[in-house]
């Protein structure tokens, strides 16, 4: 039994390190100690909204400058808190060490001025964050209406599958001038805490530091959540992740509390018949498919799981689909270790399902799946496996199709990303996939890469919704007076 790691709370510039309560990590591996949340509850929500005012003494340049300094301080090679977070993540996360190392080394980049400015500009609009913006109108003839985006008091129930969720939450909270209470997940209890501790060490009295708290409680603990999800201290809740965690939150909804859900999602792949044009193309398609399935060890909602392939379903078609499966499992083993490795805690229930298929007559062909190397299951008919929702740990399911429409019809509001090959098929299907509920359409292979991350998410604009959009209007006093007199 390994020693329990300490996960202190960070409360508005103050570190609470009296860790007495033990919690279990996921995958049955690590346990960690936190302070008692009850003792922090009173100070956690910002009960007086006027205390948001200090954030408005800052300009966007100040915010960008602060984040740039923070980014430099978060270098995992030198920052002791980040090193601890990395070490604990190695025990709690579904990602293996080389992948985690890669992400931790990327963290400072997310704080660079150009990155922050582009996020603020595209996800909200810097002019709206910085001041009142006049609204042009072809109809309204008086003084133009002004609109400004204000920060809100917000609880973030974040996901722990990748450390980038913590990073993004801190950056978004800063440039929207919001007040954040981050509730960390048990599969990544320390990354957000490490960032907040670094903020305290860097400048404990800075408004951005004072408007950041990071705590842990066990999701669903009613005595804690009833106190926190109270519209007198909190205006918005951003909830990531699983069905259960979002279901917990919905219990407390009432007028005055806005819930922004980043629902549990699954992603898929659509591969057109062009993939089978020749061997070179097919091999490349298999490698790109391996990326969509394997990157981040399939821990993300963006990762491919069910793969629809227009191979045909006759004997030749099935042979084509099987060939792709064979190539994809090989490609999966070749992925560089900073992107993907055999899963360190392969899901036992999933393994049983795969074992069952292997001897189920001619309905499925299974490549891999012997140990923890991942697997490609090729359905020998046009239906996904019955446990498609359980696919994880680098297991994909190729479903051969005659007609691409079957793939389109399978898409619904639970479908986040779809990796598509070739590009022409993406253009051809993009509107129809959107009607069905798909939220992000990418080139095959790019599902789990975030080349251009300043985009809407899950079909919504969560950062705009994190803000309060305030309207100011000026009317002609004479007109108003006349209206009241009835002399217009």
């Amino acid at each position: 039994m390994q020693e329990s790691m300490r996960v202190p709370f960070v409360l508005r510039g103050e570190i609470i390190d009296d860790c007495t309560v033990e919690h279990g990590g996921r995958h049955g591996q690590a346990r960690f100690l936190t302070p008692d949340i009850e003792s922090a509850l009173g100070r956690l929500p910002l009960r007086e909204p006027s205390r948001m005012a200090d954030l408005y003494s800052l300009t966007m340049d100040d915010i960008v400058g602060y984040l740039a300094r923070l980014g430099k301080a978060l270098d995992v090679r030198t920052n002791r808190h980040m090193q601890e977070a990395f070490a604990l993540s190695c025990r709690t996360s579904g990602l293996s060490e080389p992948i985690l190392r890669y992400y931790y080394e990327l963290i400072p980049q997310s704080f660079e001025p150009a990155v922050v400015r582009e996020m603020a500009e595209r996800l909200v609009g810097i002019d709206y964050l910085e001041g009142w913006v006049e609204q042009a109108s072809a109809l309204h003839t008086g003084v133009p209406t002004r609109v400004r985006a204000f920060g809100a008091r917000c609880v973030h129930v974040i996901a722990g599958n990748v450390p980038m969720v913590s990073v993004g939450t801190v950056v978004r909270n800063a440039f929207t001038r919001s007040d954040a209470i981050i509730k960390t997940p048990s599969n990544d209890p320390l990354t957000a805490t490490a960032i907040a501790r670094t903020m305290v060490e860097m400048d404990r009295d800075h408004p951005l530091t004072r408007h950041m708290s990071v705590v842990y409680w066990k999701g669903g603990d009613e005595s804690v959540e009833r106190e926190i999800y109270d519209p007198r201290g909190v205006e918005k809740i951003v909830a990531w992740g699983g069905f259960a965690s979002i279901k917990h939150v919905t219990r407390y909804l009432q007028p005055g509390l806005d819930l922004i859900t980043l629902d549990p999602k699954h992603s898929s792949t659509i591969i057109g018949r062009e993939a089978f044009a020749d061997d070179v193309t097919l091999e490349s398609v298999a490698r790109r498919l391996a990326l969509d399935i394997g990157a981040m060890n399939q821990e993300g909602c963006v990762n491919a799981r069910v793969v629809y392939v227009q191979s045909g379903t006759d004997a030749e078609g099935l042979a084509r689909a099987n060939r792709l499966g064979e190539l994809a499992i090989a490609a999966l083993q070749q992925l560089p270790e900073f992107l993907s490795t055999p899963h360190k805690a392969f899901d036992a229930a999933l393994k049983e399902e795969i074992d069952g298929l292997r001897y189920a007559g001619d309905e499925y062909v299974v490549y891999g799946g012997r140990k923890n190397e991942g697997a490609i299951i090729v359905s020998q008919n046009d239906a996904p496996v019955d446990f498609a929702r359980q696919l994880a740990c680098r297991v994909g399911n190729i479903v051969p199709l005659d007609d691409i429409d079957t793939a389109v019809r399978s898409v619904n509001a639970y479908t986040q990303t779809i990796g598509i090959f070739p590009e022409t098929l993406k253009t051809q299907l993009r509107d129809r996939l959107s009607y069905q509920g798909a939220q992000r359409l990418v080139s095959l292979g790019a599902a789990a890469l975030f080349e251009d991350a300043a985009t809407p998410q899950d079909g919504i604009e969560p950062v705009r919704r994190m803000c309060k959009w305030i309207v100011e209007q000026t009317s002609d006093p004479v007109m108003l007076d006349n209206l009241a007199r009835g002399t217009m």
């Binding site: 298929l357 189920a360 007559g361 239906a383 019955d386």
Partner: protein, 472 residues
């Protein structure tokens, strides 16, 4: 004893009419010899005839069984019996389901005509009509039913074996001989069905009760629907994922919902009537009662409150099990039930739908493994066999050597603690035994994906509710 031993080496099914108790008194060497002989015999007979077994053996490179360890890679994961694609059922492709099942049995299903079959119930009926197979289905783990290709003869055999176990478990002739005693049979369930607890009813009514005149069922004319059980499982799985709105129902199922609805609405009233009828017809007499603990406790609680107690003869028998899941029972629930019933003779077993023989519970609270079942405890991580020595905890796997038309090797989803190899149980019996603390691995991992017998009615009700409210 040596006669039984010699017979078992030759034919595992000789246990059915053999000396039941002697099977729990073998020496360690005898047990090993019986286990190995049974495994070899079945492997040699079945490999060429059960395609899935042949495929597994070929893949594992196993051509002969020289030790118990050799058999471990040949045990089927329990998921094999539900490895058909659910889309087959949704699309009504019962020819494909038949072909899938064909891979798991020596019985040739190639000529089964599935034309016109549009439901699981219809498919099972078709198999009944055209073969001697009397298929068994489970109640639906994670949304899917498992199908076991058991034969009519197997049901007769397992019913006979159970009767002998009851008669001789505490010493030869100490229990009622159900094969001749003609105890009235009382079951608060369905008379017909292919579900695990219903498929054996036919043989029990015939062999034990001596006919339907001497038996009482909650639903004497009705059939427990596999389609409803399947829907219940799928609904549960969908609920757990928040996808309840996405279930699609087959037109065949929707067409039958009036019939189901009617029966379900009458259930509470019928249960009361059932108990009254049981008391009127069989009160004061010795009976054979089958019921899970939660239902019995419900009866007892109400009955005792109304001053009813000691209802049946002291020579009666209670067959129960299923734990108390889904309901918290008071500590003295058994005492209350025994007060109400008027007798305390109980025969409890640990078994599962996939196995023909059961493992009877002894006075020390352990479940004893009969010689026709080869028990394994596997390391949950590596799947390797743990030694037959001392006390071992791990995943339960076993080889059932009674069936001769399908492969009896199975890796279960249960965590067990096994002992009895070096020293006999406190009860004095020498057969290996499992501790009373058996649990599902899925529960240990935080979920509970099994609808067991006791939980099934609840899930069944929810399925009905869904069916009744579904558009259509």
């Amino acid at each position: 004893m040596s006669e039984l031993f010699q017979n078992l080496l030759r034919d595992p099914q000789s246990y059915i009419d053999g000396d039941y108790l002697a099977g729990h008194a073998f020496t360690r060497e005898q047990i090993e010899a019986v286990h190995l002989a049974g495994l070899r015999k079945r492997f040699n007979e079945l490999r060429g005839q059960v395609p899935v077994l042949d495929r597994l053996a070929t893949e594992q490179g196993i051509d002969a069984i020289d030790s118990l360890e050799d058999a471990v890679p040949l045990l089927f994961p329990h998921t094999v019996y539900k490895s058909y694609p659910l889309s087959i059922l949704e699309r009504g492709q019962f020819d494909r389901l038949t072909r899938w099942l064909d891979g798991l049995t020596t019985i040739d299903l190639g000529k089964i005509d599935t034309a016109g079959v549009d439901s699981i119930d219809g498919w099972i009926k078709r198999l009944d009509e055209q073969t001697d197979m009397r298929l068994l289905h489970t109640f639906g783990t994670t949304g899917k039913l498992s199908f076991m290709p058991r034969m009519r003869e197997h049901w007769i055999q397992s019913t006979t074996l159970t009767a002998h176990a009851i008669r001789d478990w505490n010493g030869h002739g100490t229990g009622p001989d159900l094969m001749s005693a003609r105890l009235p049979m009382v079951q608060p369930g369905y008379r017909y069905g292919a579900g695990a607890t219903y498929r054996g009813v036919e043989a029990m009514v015939k062999l034990w009760a001596g006919g339907d005149d001497n038996a009482l069922f909650l639903y004497p004319d009705d059939y427990f629907s596999a389609d409803i059980a399947s829907l219940a499982g799928r609904l549960r799985a969908a609920e757990a994922r928040g996808e309840q709105g996405r279930l699609e129902l087959s037109p065949g199922l929707l067409a039958r919902r009036e019939e189901f609805a009617h029966r379900e609405q009458q259930r509470p009233g019928r249960m009361k009537e059932f108990l009254q009828t049981a008391i009127r017809r069989f009160g004061g007499r010795d009976i054979c009662l089958f019921a899970v603990w939660p239902i019995l406790f419900e009866w007892a609680e109400q009955g005792l409150a109304e001053g009813m107690r000691g209802l049946f003869g002291t020579g009666s028998l209670l067959m129960s099990g299923g734990g108390s899941k889904g309901r918290v029972l008071p500590e003295d629930y058994r005492e209350q039930i025994f007060d109400f019933l008027g007798y305390r003779r109980t025969f409890e077993i640990y078994s599962m739908s996939e196995l023909m023989p059961g493992n009877p519970r002894c006075e020390a609270g352990n479940y004893h493994v009969p010689p026709v079942l080869v028990p394994f405890v596997l390391d949950p991580q590596t799947g390797k066999m743990l030694p037959r020595a001392g006390t071992q905890t791990g995943r339960f796997a076993c080889f059932d050597m009674l069936p001769d038309t399908y492969w009896g090797g199975l890796v279960t989803g249960d965590e067990v603690t096994m002992a009895g190899w070096d020293e006999p149980c406190d009860c004095g019996r020498r057969s290996p035994y499992l501790h009373g603390t058996i649990r599902r691995f899925s529960e240990i991992q935080g979920g509970d994906d099994k609808i067991n017998c006791a939980g099934a009615p609840e899930a069944h009700d929810r399925a009905m509710d869904f069916l009744l409210h579904a558009a259509g």
